[in-house]
C-alpha cells in the first residue's frame, strides 16, 4: 500500500476517466473530421468533452482549444499571443513554471525584452511590482494562478484589473495548471485573456491540455496543419485524451466540496510535521493564500533527495519541489526568488481529493523515520 503525495506532479486518473478513454479507443474511435457516422460520433464526443472543460472554468466551448499538454497550452498562450502582438516587451513573474518561463526566454532570444517580477517573501507578487514593470511597449503579461512548487496563489483578479486599467493592449496569460483540480475558476471573473489547463493534474489522462482564449483575442498558431481547433492547434484531435479530460473536468466540478477537506488534511499534515519535527519549517507562511493541496517544507542541513528515497522506501511518495540538486546544491529559480538559502533541502507534499487521514498519519510517521535516518548520517558526515 503506497501513500501517493505527489499529485502536483501527476494525479491518478479517476476510474471513470480510464473507462471513458478505453471505451473511446475500443468502440468510439474515429476522426472527428471524417464525414461519416463514425466521424460524426467522434465529433460529438469531442464536443461533449469541450463543453465539460469549458463548464469547469465558466467559459463557452468555442473558447476552449485542446492541446497536447499544459506546457503546450502555455506556449500557445505566451508565444502565440506574442506573435500576434505589436509591442516587444513582456512581463512574467519570477515564479512561472518553465513552460511559461522558457517560452518567454525564447521570445527574448528573438529580440523581445523581458522583465521578471520578483515575489515578496510570501511567494506572491504584488500588484504594484507588476505595474512598475509595465512599459509603453509591453504587450504581454504572464502570471500563474498557483505556483506548483510552493502553492502560493497570485492575486490574479487584482492584477488583471490593474493591468487593464493601464489602457494598453496587453495580453494577460495565466497558467492555471495547478488549480483546476480543486479551485473553482471563473475566467470571466478573473478578467484575463488566456488560461492554460492540464488534464493529468485533475485525474485526467496525460497527453492533453487546454488553452482558454477570450473571444476576440488574437493569437498565432505555433505550427500549421489541417485546420483543427480554429487552426490554432492543428492535428487530429487526441479523442480518447479529450474525452478523458472532459470526464475528469466534470468530476472535478462535482467535487468542489472537497476543497475544504483537502485543505484541512494539508493543514493537519503540516501541524503534525512541525510539531514532531521542530527543525522542519514551512517554506512560505502558512497563512499565505495557497492552493489547498500543496505543502512545501524546509529541511535545513540535509539535501532532499535522500529523504525522498527514504520516504519512498517506506512507501510514501513526495517530491523535492526542485529546491536542491544533490551535487550542485543549487536551488531552483522559484526557491531563489523567495530567498531559500543554498544547501537547504525542500520537500513538497501534494494531496488530492482522494487523500485520506490515514495517508497523512502514514506520511508523517514515515517522514519522522526518514529524516531520522538521513540526519543521523548527516551528523556523522559533518564532523
Amino acid at each position: 500500500m503506497t501513500v501517493y503525495l505527489d499529485n502536483a506532479a501527476t494525479t491518478a486518473p479517476a476510474p471513470e476517466v480510464v473507462e471513458a478513454v478505453v471505451r473511446t479507443m475500443r468502440d468510439g474511435y474515429g476522426n472527428p473530421s471524417s464525414r461519416h457516422g463514425r466521424g460524426a460520433a467522434a465529433a460529438r464526443a469531442l464536443a461533449q468533452a469541450r463543453q465539460e472543460v469549458a463548464a469547469l472554468i465558466g467559459a463557452e466551448p468555442e473558447e476552449v482549444i485542446f492541446t497536447g499538454s499544459g506546457t503546450e497550452a502555455d506556449a500557445l498562450g505566451v508565444v502565440g499571443a506574442a506573435r500576434a502582438a505589436r509591442g516587444r516587451h513582456l512581463v512574467v513573474s519570477a515564479l512561472e513554471h518553465a513552460a511559461v518561463y522558457e517560452s518567454a526566454r525564447q521570445l527574448a532570444s528573438e529580440g523581445w525584452r523581458m522583465d521578471e517580477v520578483a515575489p515578496a517573501q510570501d511567494g506572491r507578487v504584488t500588484v504594484d511590482s507588476v505595474l512598475q514593470a509595465i512599459r509603453p511597449d509591453t504587450s504581454l503579461v504572464a502570471i500563474m494562478l498557483a505556483n506548483n512548487e510552493i502553492g502560493s496563489l497570485q492575486p490574479v483578479p487584482d492584477l488583471a484589473r490593474a493591468v487593464r486599467a493601464q489602457g494598453q493592449k496587453i495580453h494577460f496569460h495565466v497558467d492555471a495548471v495547478q488549480c483546476a483540480s480543486l479551485l473553482p475558476i471563473d475566467v470571466r471573473g478573473l478578467g484575463v485573456d488566456s488560461l492554460a489547463l492540464s488534464a493529468h493534474k485533475l485525474h485526467g489522462p496525460q497527453g492533453v491540455g487546454a488553452l482558454w482564449l477570450r473571444p476576440g483575442k488574437r493569437i498565432t498558431a505555433l505550427y500549421g496543419g489541417g485546420g483543427q481547433e480554429h487552426n490554432l492547434r492543428p492535428g487530429t484531435e487526441n479523442l480518447p485524451g479529450c474525452v478523458g479530460f472532459g470526464v475528469a473536468a466534470s468530476l472535478a466540478r462535482g467535487a468542489r466540496d472537497s476543497v475544504a477537506r483537502v485543505a484541512s488534511l494539508r493543514d493537519q499534515l503540516e501541524d503534525l510535521v512541525f510539531a514532531r519535527l521542530p527543525q522542519v519549517r514551512p517554506t512560505i507562511a502558512r497563512t499565505t493564500p495557497r492552493v489547498p493541496h500543496i505543502s512545501n517544507v524546509l529541511l535545513p542541513g540535509v539535501p532532499a533527495e535522500p529523504v525522498l528515497h527514504a520516504l519512498a522506501a517506506r512507501s510514501v511518495f513526495a517530491s523535492e519541489g526542485a529546491a536542491c540538486r544533490a551535487r550542485t546544491r543549487a536551488p531552483s529559480r522559484v526557491m531563489r526568488a523567495i530567498a531559500v538559502p543554498s544547501g537547504t533541502g525542500t520537500l513538497r507534499f501534494s494531496l488530492s481529493r482522494f487523500t485520506t487521514p490515514s495517508d497523512i498519519e502514514a506520511a508523517v510517521s514515515a517522514l519522522v523515520a526518514a529524516l531520522g535516518e538521513i540526519e543521523g548520517a548527516a551528523h556523522i558526515c559533518q564532523r
Binding site: 528515497h309 522506501a313 544533490a326 556523522i380 564532523r383
Partner: protein, 388 residues
C-alpha cells in the same frame, strides 16, 4: 543469402596460440549473433564467415562491427568457382555499393586473390574479365591507384567470396583471451569506457557497483544497468554485482577526518573487487581512474588506493583527456546515459575538500577503527547479482 567475411588481426597467429585465438574469436562471433536464428557462423580455412538471409545484412554487420578481435568485416556473396557466377556476383555487389558513390568519383578496381592456385584463370585475368563487365554494365571507370570502390574476390577451392565493402571493426583481441577481470562501474562517463577498453584487449569482465540506499536512489542503479546493457552489446560484461554500501560508507566516513573519506571508500571498493576476483577466478581490477581529474585521482591517492588491492589494478583511461574519453563514450553509446542526472554518491558523503595526498598512516589509522576485512567480506557476500 549474404555472407560476411570477418577479418581479425594477425598478431597472435604464430605458433600454438592460433587455435585458441581462433576458437575464442569464432565463439564471440557466435555470441554476437546468438539471437539471430537464421545466422550461421563458419570458420573454414582460418577465416570466419557468417551467413544469413539477405534482409538481415545490415543488422548482422552492425553486430559484427562490435566484436573485439575483428579488424574489418565485408558483407558479400558466396559463389561457386565459376567465372560467370563470380562475375554476376561482382556486378551485384558493385551495383549495391555504387549507389553511395559520389557522382564525381565513380571509380573502381577489382582485386582477385586465389588461395586455390588450381583455379584456371590467374588473378590478373580475373580482374580484367570482371572489370570489363563492370565498366560495360555499371559505367564506372577503372582507377587502380585510388579507386573509390574496391571489388574483392577471394577464390578458395570450394567457394568464392565476392564483396565490395570493407567496414571497420574495433580491432583488439577477442574477449576472454587475456583472462578475466572485475570492473568498478559507476554511472559516470569514465568507468564504462574503461571497461570497453579493457575488453578490447581481450579481458572478460564482470561489473561491480556500489549502491547506498536511501542516499542513492533507484534511478542511479537503473542507470548503471542501462550502461551495462550498452556495454553488453560489445560483450564487455553481462553480470553486475551490486554491493549494498550504506552502512559501510557511514562507518568509513565516521572513521576519520572528512578529507580522507573518498580514499577510504575507494580502498574498500578495491577490497571488495579483490574478493570478487577470487570468487570469479579473475586476475585484474579495472577502474575508470584518470590522472589528476579529481582529488582522489592524484598519483599519491591512486597509489594509496592500490595498496589496498591484491590484484593488479588496470586504468585504461589513465592518460586520456576528458574530451577523448567523451568522444569514445559517444562512439560506444554510453555518453547520453552517463550524462543522466542520477547521483551515484550522495552529497552528504562527499566532503567539500577531499585530500589530494592522503597519508597512508592516516588511512590505516582510520581503518583500524573498523574491521575492514570483515566489512569487505560482508559486502562481497551480500552483493546482489544481476545478469543482463
Amino acid at each position: 543469402m549474404v555472407t560476411v567475411l570477418c577479418r581479425y588481426g594477425e598478431l597472435f597467429l604464430k605458433g600454438g596460440n592460433r587455435g585458441f585465438f581462433l576458437r575464442a574469436m569464432a565463439d564471440n562471433v557466435r555470441r554476437a549473433v546468438s539471437d539471430m536464428p537464421a545466422a550461421q557462423v563458419f570458420a573454414p580455412h582460418g577465416r570466419i564467415l557468417v551467413r544469413a538471409p539477405d534482409e538481415q545484412r545490415e543488422d548482422l554487420c552492425r553486430r559484427l562491427e562490435r566484436v573485439f578481435g575483428l579488424v574489418s568485416v565485408s558483407p558479400g556473396v558466396e559463389t561457386t568457382p565459376d567465372l560467370a557466377a563470380i562475375t554476376s556476383a561482382a556486378l551485384a555487389e558493385a551495383q549495391r555499393a555504387s549507389t553511395v558513390l559520389p557522382a564525381a568519383d565513380r571509380t573502381f578496381k577489382v582485386e582477385a586473390r586465389r588461395t586455390d592456385k588450381s583455379f584456371p584463370l590467374r588473378s590478373h585475368a580475373i580482374d580484367c574479365h570482371v572489370g570489363d563487365a563492370v565498366i560495360a554494365t555499371l559505367g564506372l571507370k577503372v582507377d587502380v591507384h585510388r579507386p573509390s570502390l574496391r571489388i574483392g574476390i577471394e577464390i578458395h577451392s570450394t567457394a568464392v567470396y565476392v564483396f565490395a565493402e570493407v567496414r571497420p571493426a574495433p580491432g583488439g583481441l577477442p574477449v576472454g583471451v587475456s583472462g578475466r577481470g572485475v570492473l568498478l562501474l559507476s554511472g559516470g562517463i569514465d568507468s564504462p569506457v574503461a571497461g570497453w577498453l579493457a575488453a578490447k584487449r581481450g579481458l572478460a569482465l564482470q561489473a561491480l557497483t556500489f549502491h547506498s540506499p536511501p542516499f542513492t536512489g533507484e534511478g542511479a542503479k537503473d542507470k548503471v544497468l542501462s550502461l551495462l546493457r550498452i556495454l553488453a552489446r560489445w560483450q564487455v560484461a553481462t553480470t553486475l554485482h551490486v554491493a549494498h554500501f550504506t552502512e559501510t560508507q557511514q562507518r568509513l566516513r565516521a572513521a576519520g577526518p572528512a578529507e580522507l573519506a573518498v580514499v577510504l571508500y575507494r580502498r574498500m571498493m578495491v577490497r571488495v573487487a579483490d574478493l570478487l576476483c577470487d570468487r570469479g577466478h579473475a586476475d585484474a581490477i579495472v577502474t575508470g581512474e584518470n590522472l589528476g581529474q579529481v582529488a582522489s585521482q592524484t598519483l599519491i591517492n591512486m597509489a594509496n588506493i592500490e595498496k589496498a588491492a591484491r590484484h593488479i589494478v588496470l586504468r585504461p583511461l589513465l592518460t586520456y583527456d576528458k574530451t577523448e574519453t567523451t568522444t569514445l563514450a559517444r562512439r560506444i553509446g554510453t555518453y547520453a546515459t552517463s550524462a543522466l542526472p542520477f547521483e551515484d554518491c550522495c552529497s552528504l558523503f562527499t566532503p567539500a575538500h577531499p585530500s589530494t595526498a592522503a597519508r597512508l598512516s592516516d588511512l590505516e589509522a582510520a581503518e583500524r577503527t573498523l574491521d575492514v576485512a570483515a566489512e569487505a567480506a560482508r559486502l562481497a557476500e551480500q552483493c546482489e547479482r544481476i545478469v543482463v
